[in-house]
């Protein structure tokens, strides 16, 4: 079974290459569906495959650049990308990512990088999960109230978290209209939001989609589908920049990134097309569930590193959980894609076939 393992020329370790392709496929599906690079899955996934943390982050970001580029190309054709917003946010993202990357190098030097990254992940994931489910709960409550009072004005859901309305009242010039996203706000709002999310991305070694996707929805007021596409465009830029800097620091295993990209190229198409068949709030609910699963796995890892007596138990539990999470979500999205595609093709066939035949 030696042929199933490939020697990584830089990290100097043999790696199970079908595992890299499957990881790329799963992350490609999930990332392009939720609008993120998928660093929160890839970094632990690479660790499970035996990569040291230093190489895992760089390799992850490098693969993410290619994966998100494929997804952006697809989302762009659906009209899901607001390029103007994406380009403006790049300013904040790049400076934020660089600040975060410098900070992580310092932490690595004092030897606290693993624990810092895991605690950071955990706090962030808990906050995002809380935000998403509070929003969904508020939206459903509002929708029910409108239904019972007979005042339902629109078919699409509304009434969830509306922080963006308050933030849009900040009128610091210049003001900008983002036509595709349908928002009008101060240019400083997307710049400051992207700096904050970029900084977090640099620290945690992720593309930033996990933070930017909810930030785009809740802080900027971008519709879910546009948030997914625009976020992926942002991930391309920040991940490419991250790939350059991490590689220049010698932290990238290029071969692993290329192998993962093969799986991701298929996954990215499936995930992007699946967004055609799922409503915006549906995407948010499953995004929240994914975040909870990820938080649990990080918590297990944290317990394992803190208590030597239960290390192997919690390490294994974290690995199993993250694999189940990636497999479960990817399968769910794939089934949605299949169901939607089948219905679309059936509808098209019925429209084109002659009446009575």
């Amino acid at each position: 079974m030696d042929w199933l393992f490939i020697q990584m020329p830089i990290a100097g370790i043999p790696v199970f290459w079908p595992g890299l392709i499957i990881l790329g496929l799963g992350v490609g599906i999930i990332g392009s569906f939720f609008g993120m690079g998928g660093g929160w899955m890839v970094t632990p996934g690479l660790n499970i495959l035996g990569f040291p943390m230093a190489f895992a982050i760089g390799t992850d970001i490098t693969h993410m650049a290619g994966n998100s580029l494929i997804s952006t190309m697809r989302h762009s054709k659906f009209g899901n990308v607001d390029y103007k917003l994406g380009v403006i946010m790049t300013v904040g993202t790049i400076s934020g990512v660089e600040t975060g990357a410098q900070m992580i190098m310092w932490l690595e030097r004092i030897g606290k990088v693993d624990i810092f990254v895991r605690i950071g992940y955990l706090i962030l994931l808990a906050l995002i999960a809380w935000l998403v489910f509070t929003d969904v709960y508020q939206q459903r409550k509002h929708h029910k109230e409108e239904l019972t009072s007979g005042k339902l004005r629109q078919a699409v859901p509304s009434g969830g978290i509306q922080w963006h309305r308050t933030l849009h009242k900040i009128k610091i010039p210049p003001m900008v209209h983002f036509h595709r996203a349908g928002i009008y706000c101060s240019v400083w709002l997307p710049i400051s939001v992207s700096f904050m999310t970029g900084w977090l991305a640099g620290i945690l070694g992720i593309g930033g989609g996990l933070v930017r996707m909810p930030a785009l929805i809740y802080l900027l007021g971008v519709p879910t589908h546009i948030a997914v596409g625009t976020d992926l465009f942002e991930v391309v830029i920040s991940a490419l920049y991250g790939a350059g800097t991490y590689t220049y620091k010698g932290r990238t295993e290029l071969l692993a990134a290329v192998i993962m990209l093969v799986g991701a190229s298929v996954g990215a198409q499936i995930g992007s097309v699946a967004t055609k068949y799922v409503k915006g709030y549906g995407i948010r609910v499953f995004f929240g569930l994914a975040v909870i699963g990820c938080a649990l796995s990080v918590a297990f890892k944290l317990i394992a590193s803190s208590f030597a007596s239960v290390r192997s138990l919690f390490d294994n539990a974290a690995a199993i959980l993250i694999l189940l999470l990636v497999a479960g979500l990817a399968l769910f999205i794939f089934l949605k894609f299949l169901k939607g595609a089948r219905e679309e093709l059936a509808l098209r066939r019925s429209q084109t076939s002659p009446v009575g035949s």
Partner: protein
């Protein structure tokens, strides 16, 4: 009220300044950690990639940022072509919702 806002703004400013000072000030010593790949026993393109990594990280980084997007465009175009053959509409999305 104004005093309280000022106090919090000062704290926030100090925290930001402190974190930035830490990050920028800490950059250079960490970069002195050097990874060396073992190219002994490697042949062909693997030996070339490993040697490039060991000899010139800038060129290796340049290769990475050119190779990954190029491969992504090629692989993306191939999978896009295959998906289009299934007959799914790949040019528009009907659902629109906040």
């Amino acid at each position: 009220m104004r005093f309280r806002v000022m106090k919090w703004a000062t704290r926030l400013g100090a925290a930001l300044l402190f974190s930035r000072a830490l990050t920028f000030g800490a950059g250079s010593p960490a970069t002195s950690i050097v990874f060396v790949a073992d190219s002994r026993g490697l042949t062909g393109w693997r030996a070339w990639v490993t040697n490039l990594y060991n000899e010139n990280l800038f060129h290796f980084a340049l290769l990475t940022v050119v190779l990954i997007p190029t491969l992504a465009v090629i692989l993306g175009s191939i999978t896009n072509f295959l998906l289009a053959r299934t007959g799914i509409n790949l040019k528009s999305r009907v659902l629109a919702e906040h």
